[in-house]
Subunit: 256 residues, 2 copies
């Protein structure tokens, strides 16, 4: 099942998307109680919004070996999760604004896990029961700031640096999933999504030993490979098998 | 003016607290449109809640010279903000749960700035106009995990590690403010709140160059001095002149 958050004529709502791109409008909360209505909309007629704004926005920093070695970083010995910030979220189809003083902007195509149930102290085997679904994230990064700053605040959390969407799929075949990133329609990175250093179950079970996960929390699972330096005008598509394609254009900040 | 978020008989609301500890119940949003009602409550009759759960939870890591040198860290050259996580927030009067495997837990008494207006690209002089008020935070930290982990996820974001409150004051005399932390009623740390490496105006103006601040966002401003290793049963009071006292007991996790 595909869950879409959309806006139309100034109103925002949730819907379920059919294979024919018809939206069944839903009343209520996808993570709680909801009911379908008789209203149908067409995907092409609505604006796609960020699927859910997470209460806490987790992101796994270094989780694929090739990416870690390409970036000259050390392979982590244990699953220490990191964070991103909600101000940076944008939806599928919105533009990433490259700050005027940014010079080395990279994409990072990632699988995103959406938490569906409150969870604390859960075993590896219990993790799947607390997952609502999956979506796609692009962990846009400015590599010079990532190296020069003490934290990732502007390297990874500048406004518009966290495209996410286009929707949440409640089913996913992660074992056979491929993550493919294209720039202006040409394939640039491809990797097996499941080729993680620490898997979803291990990460979430470890996190839950110390913290409570809440419905709507997001866990971005990290990326593999290497990005070229993106240029103004580039369009980046992140496709994950069965989940869809997250597409965003990169444009230069207009200084006033 | 003091803004309180409270709960009573399963309902949560906002109120304005008088000097006599009477709450004038408010309808609406303190950060938006609201109106006072004729309902009055007594502070002693309600449960104090976390004043606001922030859309983005910022925290300034190293901002007082004595603390930085005591902890053996390097003095930052510029204001790079960090983050904390909402799962860890608890209110005044709630207990901090010390995980069974935590061995070196410290307090950090901090001034908290609450954003009141959407702000992007603002000058140092414009910062005060986007501040709603001030409250108190205790940036509880497990120092061994802070040293051993790649991120601060459990060292600073374990459930209950972020006491905040008890209320938000819309006025504050920061130039003459003192931060005083007491353990079991005995003063343990005292410093001038304004003795920051980078002040509120410089931090928020710098952040706003790259990110949009939203109403309810919190910026914890860092701490000075050094904490003893806290023990189960300790009560930590963080008092900031004119803002009040944030008080929490520390208890050991009960393993089942």
């Amino acid at each position: 099942m595909r869950w879409l958050r959309y806006s139309l004529k100034g109103e925002t709502g949730y819907g379920i998307l059919s294979d024919e791109d018809t939206i069944t409008v839903v009343r209520g909360d996808p993570l709680g109680k909801y009911e379908t209505t008789a209203t149908r909309l067409q995907l092409q007629d609505v604006t796609i919004e960020v699927p859910i704004v997470p209460p806490t926005f987790y992101c796994v920093g270094l989780n694929y070996v090739k990416h870690i070695s390409t970036e000259g970083l050390t392979i982590p010995k244990k699953p220490d999760v990191g964070y991103r910030a909600n101000n940076a979220l944008i939806a599928h189809g919105q533009d990433v604004i490259m700050p005027a003083d940014a010079t080395r902007i990279h994409y990072e195509g990632e699988l995103v896990v959406v938490i569906g149930k409150k969870a604390k102290n859960i075993s590896v085997g219990e993790v799947k029961d607390c997952i609502f679904g999956y979506t796609i994230g692009n962990d846009v990064s400015e590599r010079n700031w990532q190296a020069s700053d003490r934290t990732f605040w502007r390297a990874k959390n500048t406004d518009t640096f966290k495209p996410m969407g286009p929707w949440i799929c409640t089913d996913a075949q992660i074992a056979t999933m491929q993550t493919v990133v294209s720039v202006n329609g040409e394939q640039s990175t491809r990797f097996d999504t499941a080729d993680m250093l620490f898997g979803i179950e291990e990460f979430i079970s470890t996190m839950s030993r110390y913290l409570t996960l809440y419905p709507g929390d997001m866990v971005w699972m990290g990326t593999d490979g290497h990005s070229p330096n993106l240029q103004p005008g580039d369009r980046v598509d992140v496709s994950l098998t069965g989940l869809g394609t997250l597409s965003n254009r990169f444009i230069k900040e207009a200084l006033t």
